[in-house]
């Protein structure tokens, strides 16, 4: 990277480069890890070679009498040679791996070199700066393009002003033309404005322009030679050198100095209280005269605001560090604090409050030492002090009132509840006004204050003309004034509140926004269909302590918000923030907006919220309305008894991916996967939560159907995992494998077969059945994967397969083997096997790219090329469109865009069909097994099972 390239980087990019540089400590850690890995490999090689000794052990244990016969066997097998070959292979593998690891170091060094380059260039830049300071040769120092843009803008602007002047108008008179009744005047006004918009950039970058070129250019154009331009040129310079140049120029061109320039520059000087010249009242040419004769002028006399700030900063830091107890710079103050301009002090304190963690006591001390008075403070600083210190407590009431007014007038919202009661009434109008202003600025905190909210919403409703704002207002009726709701909706509200508590009320508020209340009968119909699905959740049927609460986070991207904004008065963020307030939907911190559904035990409640948000236009999980919206989401699970980020959770995550419920895996290989994070709890219920909040970060979807299936599966799994963990420790690979191998296919033998592994006997039949479902599901998937690794080629390309029990399964009569053979005829079979291999252990580990890529490679064989660069949504659609019934049954009716709310709580029962593949194909097989798991869990969690348990208890009693 050279200097030019470096200069083109945005500040963020430059910072990233700096951050990417390794700290010495990280380097040590990496070296240590590398060393450990090296030792591990050597150890592994030794063990591997040692294994050869088993030949002698085996020979000895068999104990052939004819010793020669043993040698003959060895020779006929060429066993020593074969072993040698394997050992060789292992050695080479280690060499290769060491090389790979070495390359990591090389890469690191390359990065290092890049940074050195930047460092050297920065030094060159410094040298260059000092050179031009000495030689006054500043060619190329300034940005040519910025200079050109400025000149162009100035000259275009001047051209437009000239046209205005030609009509004998000054600027004020011109502005009045906009309100004129004469259409001709209006036309001129609009034309000039349009021309200005088009030709003059919104803002000029005065700090990087070459002042000499600018001055030289404008000196002959009276329209351009304006005091405001000169003032900007001087004030934006960060260095004294260009200021000298500007004054040099003015001195040489005294004839150019007009009233306007003099006024502006005097003003600039008057701002500097410690400027000798500003106090002198001398005319500008005399000031320049003095400036010319005094080489030290720039240090004792004229200084720009920027220079003052820069020179005062170390002093301010010194004083502040003293109070904050941080290590101070070596510089000792030569200027007393009082001599630093108040505005600079305030801005410094302000930035300090923004960027540092300062205790209220320290803030008070700072304010006292720096002698900050409320009238001198900006509204922003006042607000900071109000929130962070006891500053306001000691203000007399009148000053307090003025300070509050100043903050509110600036549009920073303060809630009435935060203000002393006796001031609340006086400030009444200011609160409302501040709420309006802060709404315009995108700060919607006022929504928390019922009275203010009511007034502001009413004004907004009159302003807006889309139905959105009306619906928002109405959705607040649910919270503020339910009596305003039409009778049927009110009844629905009472019913939902009664059945589902506050969550029921929230849902009605959301529904009022989504459906409006113009047609209450339609509203009721919609809610009844939702209610039917909500009631599928049956808390009484869940074993004690096994409840799961789930929450979803979905990031809204700019493209989505922009498309939405077309049909709304106030835009996406304001709309959703208002609705989130009335419907009590959480909000995260990422992206344009992050929808964070609050945790809930009833998974269908969450799905209902998503459905309503989707119908309201806030998102579209089918990606039809917002094709470029984010497809990923985060799903967090919390268990009453405790879920943890362990092999069970990893399995759930991986099996969802295998079943294509986190998106169709196809297309290019990925190099990264997202993991499950353990987060702190968000308390929402009285029950004690244990374990972790497990947040699955790698969730993604192409359709409502996949999303809903993933949520319901996670709900079932969360319950099943907790029940299972009551009796079985969550084990890591390969111990998990050993246990799962023992799971009998006959449910009735389960408890007996597992006795030695259990920490205690099952407490109920339901517990036993649920644990069986989970472990049997895991075992079946594990066996499925093993079979896939053994016989993927046979099942898909030869038409038969032997399953784990040695049963012959005919796939050839269901799939077109000849067609499939063509798909791989050009590929190397070994390679295909390697690329599609799924390492069984990875099912129980954090999701890895190798795992996901194997799935993508399997799909890629069957899905038609060419595959797009990314995971192509076209492929996804083709796969999602067709759901096939188990046992090579027919196509299931319905669409992937449909939700369970469209289908009385049912979703399509079958698997997403990858055309050409058999049911033994692992992606199909996983879906079939997952459907069975879900169905059995649903059965076990229906009221029937509870009754069954109750019957059993009764039976036990009567016995």
């Amino acid at each position: 990277m050279n200097l030019e390239e470096f200069k083109k980087l945005t500040p963020e990019k430059r910072r990233d480069l700096e951050l990417a540089e390794k700290t010495p400590n990280e380097q040590v850690v990496f070296e240590q890890l590398k060393k450990e890995f090296g030792i591990e490999m050597q150890q592994e090689l030794e063990n591997f070679k040692n294994e050869d000794k088993k030949i002698d052990q085996i020979t000895e244990s068999i104990g052939l009498e004819n010793i020669e016969a043993a040698s003959n066997v060895k020779d006929s097998l060429g066993i020593h040679k074969e072993l040698e070959k394997l050992n060789d292979e292992a050695s080479k593998l280690i060499q290769k791996t060491k090389q790979d690891v070495g390359n990591i170091e090389v890469l690191n060094r390359k990065l290092q070199e890049k940074f050195n380059d930047i460092m050297v260039r920065s030094l060159e830049l410094e040298k260059f700066r000092s050179q031009i300071n000495g030689n006054k040769n500043y060619d190329n120092f300034y940005s040519e393009s910025d200079t050109a843009t400025l000149l162009q803008g100035l000259s275009e602007g001047a051209g437009i002003f000239q046209k205005i002047q030609d009509r004998n108008l000054n600027l004020d008179e011109f502005t009045d033309l906009g309100k004129s009744a004469n259409p001709e005047d209006q036309l001129f006004f609009n034309q000039m404005n349009a021309e200005f918009e088009e030709k003059v950039p919104n803002s000029f970058n005065f700090s990087d322009v070459d002042p000499v070129i600018v001055l030289d250019k404008i000196k002959n154009e009276s329209m351009l030679l304006k005091g405001s331009v000169i003032k900007e040129l001087i004030n934006k310079q960060k260095d004294s050198l260009p200021i000298n140049i500007i004054f040099d120029f003015l001195d040489k061109n005294k004839s150019l100095i007009n009233e306007d320039i003099l006024k502006e520059i005097s003003y600039l000087m008057d701002n500097q209280k410690d400027s000798v010249l500003a106090k002198s009242g001398l005319p500008l040419d005399q000031m320049i005269e003095i400036y010319r004769n005094d080489p030290d002028f720039k240090t004792i006399g004229f200084r720009t605001k920027k220079l003052i700030e820069e020179q005062s900063k170390p002093l301010l830091e010194y004083y502040a560090a003293d109070i904050l107890g941080t290590s101070s710079s070596k510089l000792s103050p030569t200027i007393p604090l009082n001599d630093i301009p108040g505005i600079v002090k305030i801005e410094y304190i302000d930035s300090l409050l923004h960027t540092s963690v300062i205790s209220p006591e320290q803030t008070n001390q700072l304010v006292k030492t720096f002698d900050i008075k409320p009238e001198g403070l900006s509204p922003r600083s006042l607000n900071f002090l109000f929130r962070t210190s006891a500053f306001f407590d000691y203000l007399p009431n009148a000053e307090k009132l003025n300070s509050f007014k100043k903050v509110l007038d600036s549009g920073i919202y303060i809630s009435p509840t935060e203000v002393d009661e006796e001031l609340q009434d006086v400030l009444k109008d200011s609160f409302i006004e501040a709420a309006h202003k802060s709404f315009d600025n995108g700060d919607l905190r006022f929504l928390a204050d019922t009275d203010i909210r009511k007034q502001v919403l009413t004004t907004l409703e009159n302003k807006g003309d889309t139905k959105n704002i009306k619906n928002i207002q109405e959705s607040f009726y649910v919270v503020d004034s339910p009596e305003k709701l039409p009778e049927p909706i009110l009844k629905m509200l009472e019913k939902f509140e009664d059945q589902y508590g506050s969550k029921g009320k929230d849902l009605i508020a959301l529904a009022v926004f989504t459906y409006g209340m113009e047609h209450p009968e339609n509203f009721v119909k919609q809610m009844e269909s939702i209610e039917q699905v909500l009631n599928k959740y049956n808390p009484d049927a869940i074993p004690e302590g096994a409840k799961v609460s789930m929450g979803v986070e979905y990031e809204v991207t700019l493209s989505l918000a922009n498309i939405y904004a077309d049909g709304s008065d106030f835009g996406y963020i304001k709309d959703i923030e208002m609705v989130s307030r009335s419907a009590n939907i959480g909000k995260g911190n990422d992206a344009v907006h992050e929808i964070a559904l609050k945790p809930n035990y009833n998974p269908y409640m969450m799905l209902a919220e998503m459905k309503l948000l989707q119908e309201a236009g806030f998102l579209d999980l089918n990606f039809e309305r917002y094709p470029d919206a984010a497809r990923g989401y985060h799903l967090s699970l919390v268990g009453d008894n405790g879920l943890e980020v362990n092999s069970n959770m990893f399995f759930l995550n991986n099996v969802l991916t295998m079943a294509q419920l986190t998106g169709i895996t196809a297309g290019k290989e990925v190099s990264n996967t997202k993991h499950i994070h353990s987060k702190s709890f968000e308390h929402f219920s009285d029950s004690e939560q244990r374990g972790h909040r497990c947040e699955m970060k790698g969730m993604s979807t192409d359709s409502v159907e996949q999303f809903e299936k993933a949520v319901i599966t996670s709900h079932h799994a969360g319950i099943a995992i907790q029940v299972t963990q009551k009796y079985f420790e969550a084990k890591l690979w390969p111990d998990a494998q050993e246990i799962l191998k023992k799971i009998p296919s006959d449910k009735n033998e389960f408890e007996r077969a597992m006795l030695s592994e259990m920490t205690k006997p099952f407490e109920s039949d339901q517990d036993r059945d649920i644990a069986y479902e989970w472990m049997h599901f895991q075992a079946s998937i594990m066996k499925g994967v093993e079979q896939h690794n053994e016989s993927f080629m046979d099942s898909e390309f030869n038409g038969f397969v032997l399953d784990n029990e040695g049963n012959y399964i005919d796939t050839g009569s269901h799939i077109d083997v000849m067609r499939n053979k063509k798909l791989i005829e050009s590929s190397n079979q070994e390679q295909v096997l390697q690329k599609t291999k799924i390492w069984t252990n990875e099912l129980f580990e954090s999701q890895s790219p190798i795992f996901v890529n194997a799935l993508a490679n399997i799909n890629n064989i069957f899905l038609k090329p060419p595959q797009a660069d990314d995971n192509s949504p076209v492929n996804a659609k083709a796969v999602l469109d067709t759901v096939r019934k188990e046992n090579y049954g027919g196509i299931v009716d319905g669409k992937f865009q449909e939700s369970i709310f469209d289908n009385q709580g049912e979703y399509r029962d079958g698997y997403y069909y990858v055309q050409g593949a058999s049911e033994e194909m692992i992606i199909h097989k996983t879906q079939i097994l997952l459907n069975r798991f879900n169905k059995n869990m649903e059965e076990l969690l229906s009221i029937k099972s509870v009754e069954r348990n109750q019957d059993q208890v009764n039976a036990n009693f009567s016995n």
């Binding site: 990496f30 890995f37 294994e51 068999i62 009498e65 043993a70 066997v73 791996t97 790979d100 890895s848």
Partner: protein, 51 residues
């Protein structure tokens, strides 16, 4: 985890997986050897019995 550590972790995973394959091959070979020896042993015993 930083970039280099992630790379190292990936290398380790690849190494581990590859070694697993080699182990499997070696064990298969040893098993084969064992079964051949056992065959011979049975032959020896049979011969002894015949005698």
């Amino acid at each position: 985890m930083n970039y280099e550590e992630q790379e190292l972790k990936d290398s380790r995973l690849r190494f581990r997986n590859h070694m697993l394959l080699l182990w499997k091959k070696k064990h298969k070979l040893l098993l084969l050897f064992r079964s051949k020896l056992e065959e011979k042993k049975i032959q020896e015993i049979n011969q002894k019995l015949l005698r």
